[in-house]
């Protein structure tokens, strides 16, 4: 029961933030740089800027509807390495700030 109450509290906080963000962004004026009107589908923007000459949606990078295991594993490895490097720097920074030895040779 306690778990469920907490679960729904976290969900409710996320929803309040989510709706706030969504309506906040939606209500921004259209002439702000980077905010374009209409759907997020790139094809709609092409149609909006050239209504007389409907163009096909631009080709997307890679095959967006198929799974490509090789590419997926490569990208996962790349991001994992990136996360590891950043985490290592954080660990070093914390140790320096806490004045702990970076490598404790005396530890058994």
């Amino acid at each position: 029961m306690k778990f469920l109450t907490r679960f729904f509290t976290v969900l409710a906080v996320a929803c309040v933030f989510g709706f706030g963000l969504y309506y906040g962004i939606q209500s921004l004026p259209d002439d702000l740089p980077g905010i374009s009107q209409g759907g997020s589908n790139p094809a709609e923007h092409v149609l909006q800027s050239a209504p007389q000459q409907p163009l096909a949606p631009p080709a997307r990078d890679g095959r967006m509807d198929e799974i490509n295991i090789g590419r997926l594993l490569r990208s996962m490895a790349k991001n994992l390495i990136l996360i590891s490097i950043l985490a290592c720097f954080t660990i070093l920074a914390v140790r320096v700030l806490n004045k702990k030895p970076l490598i404790n040779f005396r530890k058994k």
């Binding site: 962004i25 009107q37 996962m76």
Partner: protein, 165 residues
């Protein structure tokens, strides 16, 4: 038990995040459904740290500068990062929301917000792991090393003594 549960939930979230970072390779269908179902796991992760969070919230202003404050602020940033990712993801959704019969009036900016929040969340995850490294390492040893060592201890106590030399 709680350490094991926490550890495996963390590992699952990291794996799902890594898959989600490349929708071009997983396909948008898997990308959307996988991340939408991950909402529940993310919430469980937050709920499992509820007590830590509430204790720090109550004490936040008592001793303002302490390394745990950074952890605390980072966990809020992580929550907001994932929430932004989800909202912007839903705003550009091509599979999940249309299947559920929901039509959102998206706008061009959402794709950029989605991309930016994905990269920022990756950075925050790395800092989060770095700050919690001692816990991660201790949990790793408890789950993967301790049972093995215990088994050996029961099998041959002499071997353990030798190891200790």
């Amino acid at each position: 038990m709680k350490i094991k549960l926490n550890f495996w939930i963390d590992v699952a979230i990291l794996c799902i995040f890594l898959v989600a970072m490349e929708p071009g390779a997983s396909g948008v269908f898997i990308h959307e459904w996988l991340t939408t179902s991950a909402v529940a796991i993310l919430i469980v992760h937050f709920v499992l740290h509820w007590e830590w969070f509430m204790t720090l919230t109550a004490r936040f202003f008592v001793k303002l500068w302490h390394s745990s404050r950074l952890n605390y602020l980072l966990s809020i940033a992580l929550f907001l990062g994932f929430a932004t990712l989800m909202v912007s993801g839903f705003a550009i959704s091509e599979k999940v929301l249309p299947t559920l019969g929901v039509e959102l009036a998206g706008r061009g900016a959402w794709k950029r917000i989605h991309d930016l929040s994905a990269n920022l969340t990756l950075l925050i995850i790395a800092l989060h792991i770095g700050l919690r490294w001692e816990w991660v390492w201790a949990a790793f040893k408890k789950i993967f090393v301790a049972p093995f060592v215990k088994e050996r201890k029961a099998d041959s106590p002499v071997l353990i003594e030798e190891d200790g030399l």
